[in-house]
């Protein structure tokens, strides 16, 4: 254990002296340049770009350094034969490996904290405000409700539902674990895609009503549009939905804002939200996760950038451990190539998914691709940059999920590297 700490500290010192931190400085400088020169249509879009820029720069540096640093240090120890001396001391090979890995991780963590601070600072200076990412609660289940109150379950893999039939049809979402309500209520965001049923007639608005209830037996309370909502109309008890595409997800511009009164939320934080179509002409398309959400305080930008960075760090940890495995047996160049290859493979899994759906493939190829989908870690699973740009905060639960998902791979890779190092003679 002592040896592990000593090796981790050594790695940090080396990164410092080898000026690896300059990569972070470079990323910070690029960010500042970007912040000053950002050109986009409106301020909201520029702010989005800036947030994506910070996360992107962080991801780039963190991933590259994770692949580079550990492999380079292990390779040097083996090539320059410092390993003789190390392993003649009471240092276990597992302690050595984990120490090397930990050294890289701690170094990256410090870089993430610094870069998040620089990013927040640049954004605050450029825009005179920082976006406040919101803590978002999305529905856990949904179902269709007819005008007569009949409930129809929705297939679990269905992503979208359209309301087309008679007026009065609707969707009911169940939200759980809502934050405890303040007296004025919990803000609810709603958006939908609105289309005309007749392609020759331009329609992009639909009148709906939205109500909330703590349970199925309780009588629902009709919600009214908040005064600071970007759209939605002022008809009491009715909401005028405007068309918003799926990828338009700015909390401040793209959603109707309503307030859920405390009486509509059960003590355990459950709330049923029902949307009923009141207009026969338009077709309303709704999704389970993005049409209805409750937002709360998600912490400041800095905290969310750091949590996003921690998700990236989980990916970096996986890549670092995978590169270590190769570095124990192969040259530095091969190790770096292996790390980068794994990263690109794990970032392009969606192409495999598309190919599986749309291409006519022979059975063995199909089998192989399916295997790859199961085995290769999916680095696109937590789209932190997109989430932050959309105004969603990154909760700790996502950080935990990421470390759990990628940590399994990391542990396996470290174990394999350990076995190979133990078998190695010097």
């Amino acid at each position: 254990m002592k040896g592990l700490v000593a090796v981790a500290r050594l790695g940090l010192k080396e990164a410092l002296r080898a000026r690896l931190w300059l990569a972070f400085v470079a990323a910070g400088v690029v960010l500042m340049g970007l912040g000053l020169r950002l050109g986009a249509v409106d301020e909201g879009a520029r702010l989005k770009l800036a947030v994506v820029g910070v996360m992107g720069a962080m991801g780039f540096v963190v991933i590259l350094l994770a692949i580079l640093a550990g492999a380079q240090q292990i390779r040097r120890d083996l090539d320059a034969r410092v390993a003789f001396l190390l392993f003649s001391k009471p240092l276990s090979r597992l302690g050595y490996l984990v120490g090397r890995w930990l050294g890289v991780m701690i170094g990256l963590l410090i870089g993430i904290l610094a870069l998040a601070a620089v990013g927040t600072g640049v954004i605050a200076l450029t825009f005179d405000r920082t976006p406040e990412p919101a803590a978002v609660v999305t529905p856990s289940t949904w179902e269709r409700v007819s005008a007569l109150g009949e409930r129809t379950p929705i297939a679990t893999d269905a992503q979208r539902q359209s309301l087309t039939g008679p007026v009065g049809d609707g969707i009911r979402w169940t939200l759980t674990n809502l934050p405890s309500a303040s007296p004025e209520g919990i803000p609810l965001l709603v958006k939908a895609m609105v289309r005309g049923t007749d392609p020759t007639v331009m329609v992009d608005e639909c009148l709906v009503s939205i109500d909330a209830a703590p349970s199925l037996d309780a009588s629902p309370l009709v919600l009214t549009v908040d005064s600071d909502s970007p759209y939605g109309g002022s008809l009491p008890g009715q909401v005028l939905l405007r068309h918003r595409d799926v990828n338009r997800d700015d909390h401040r511009q793209d959603f109707v804002r309503l307030l859920i009164p405390p009486a509509a939320v059960a003590p355990d934080g459950t709330c049923l939200i029902r949307l009923t179509r009141l207009d026969a002409r338009p077709l309303v398309v709704l999704t389970k996760d993005t049409s209805v959400m409750v937002t709360g305080d998600g912490g400041g930008l800095y905290v969310n950038l750091v949590r996003g960075g921690l998700v990236l760090l989980a990916v970096a940890g996986l890549l670092a451990s995978a590169t270590l495995v190769v570095a124990v047996v192969a040259h530095l160049g091969v190790s770096l190539l292996a790390g980068l290859t794994l990263y690109f493979a794990g970032s392009l899994l969606w192409t495999l998914q598309e190919a599986l759906i749309y291409e006519r493939l022979s059975a063995p190829v199909r089998r192989l691709m399916e295997l790859a989908l199961v085995l290769v870690p999916d680095f696109d699973r937590f789209t932190v940059a997109a989430r932050l740009a959309a105004g969603h905060g990154i909760p700790w639960s996502v950080v935990g999920e990421a470390w759990l998902a990628y940590g399994c791979y990391t542990v396996v890779f470290l174990a394999v590297a350990w076995i190979m190092l133990v078998r190695k003679e010097f």
Binding site: K13, R17, F87, E425
Partner: protein, 288 residues
């Protein structure tokens, strides 16, 4: 005296290096059986490539034997408890170039789990002992070969080891340094440590070792105490203090046919070198 377990013991120890596919390439060590007892300075001699370093690596658990067994303090060489008691100086100095001497010492100290206070006092003494106080805050990348060698020696003693393994400790050192290493080995022996020494400098080995083993192409040629191995019972040396011509003549005639030669002894180059450097050093200090 109770029978002590040998510090090092090898029984039929052999190592054959293999290639990537596991095919045998070279038998670097064959059937080595030796013992090193506590408190002994043991010399391992042999020409280049005779298997000395291979033997040491087997004793440190860095290589796995292909035949036979090695025991250090009666245990398996890979045992971490064993490594806690060993100090090792590799044949070349492999240290981190980005660390200073002080940092190197505390890094290795921490690998032994020593606390900071112990590390500080020990590294102070050791760095002074190897004569690097003036350079202790410089990065090793700036060190000369001999300076790095000196630091290598210092780090091998940070854990106050019971067994010190020195693989060609004097390579790259100036004569003063070599002599100091020799003095150090004698001091280690006096404080009850066991030393395993590999060296090509036979004079040094002769001066400090109690017993030696000679390897050749991986096989043990000879093992025994230096006195035993070098003693020549056929001859005797007679030394006279300040003899005049008459005394010499008397010795010659008394010896008769047994006489081989009569000549003044030559000072050994090493002691001569040490003497004049010491003289120059004291002059230099008195002048400044």
């Amino acid at each position: 005296m109770a029978i002590q377990t040998p510090v090092l013991r090898t029984v039929g120890l052999g190592k054959t290096y293999t290639d990537f596919w596991g095919r045998p390439r070279l038998a670097a060590l064959k059937d080595l059986t030796v013992e090193v007892r506590p408190g002994e300075v043991f010399g391992l001699l042999g020409p280049n490539g005779s298997g000395k370093t291979t033997t040491i690596k087997l004793l440190l658990g860095l290589l796995r034997p292909t035949s036979g067994d090695a025991f250090v303090f009666g245990c398996d060489p890979g045992d971490r408890v064993v490594k806690q008691r060993i100090g090792y100086l590799p044949e070349e100095t492999y240290l981190y170039k980005f660390l200073t001497a002080d940092e190197t010492m505390s890094f290795f100290g921490r690998l032994f789990g020593l606390d900071e206070a112990t590390i500080r006092t020990r590294s102070d003494t050791l760095i002074r002992m190897v004569g690097l106080e003036h350079a202790r805050r410089r990065h090793l990348g700036e060190y000369s070969k001999g300076m790095a060698r000196r630091l290598g020696l210092a780090q091998s003693l940070i854990n106050d080891p019971d067994l010190v393994i020195l693989d060609e400790p004097t390579s790259g050192l100036d004569p003063i340094g070599s002599a100091e290493v020799k003095d150090l080995i004698v001091r280690l022996k006096q404080s009850g440590k066991t030393v395993l020494l590999c060296s090509h400098l036979l004079a040094d080995v002769e001066d400090v070792c109690d017993r030696i083993a000679i390897l050749h192409q991986g096989s043990l040629l000879e093992v025994g105490s230096v006195d035993e191995l070098l003693r020549n019972d056929d001859r005797q040396v007679v030394e006279l203090r300040a003899p005049d011509a008459a005394v010499l003549e008397a010795v010659r005639s008394a010896a008769g046919d047994h006489l081989v030669s009569v000549a003044p002894p030559r000072e050994r180059l090493e002691s001569h070198f040490r003497r004049i450097i010491a003289a120059a050093g004291s002059q230099g200090t008195s002048r400044s």
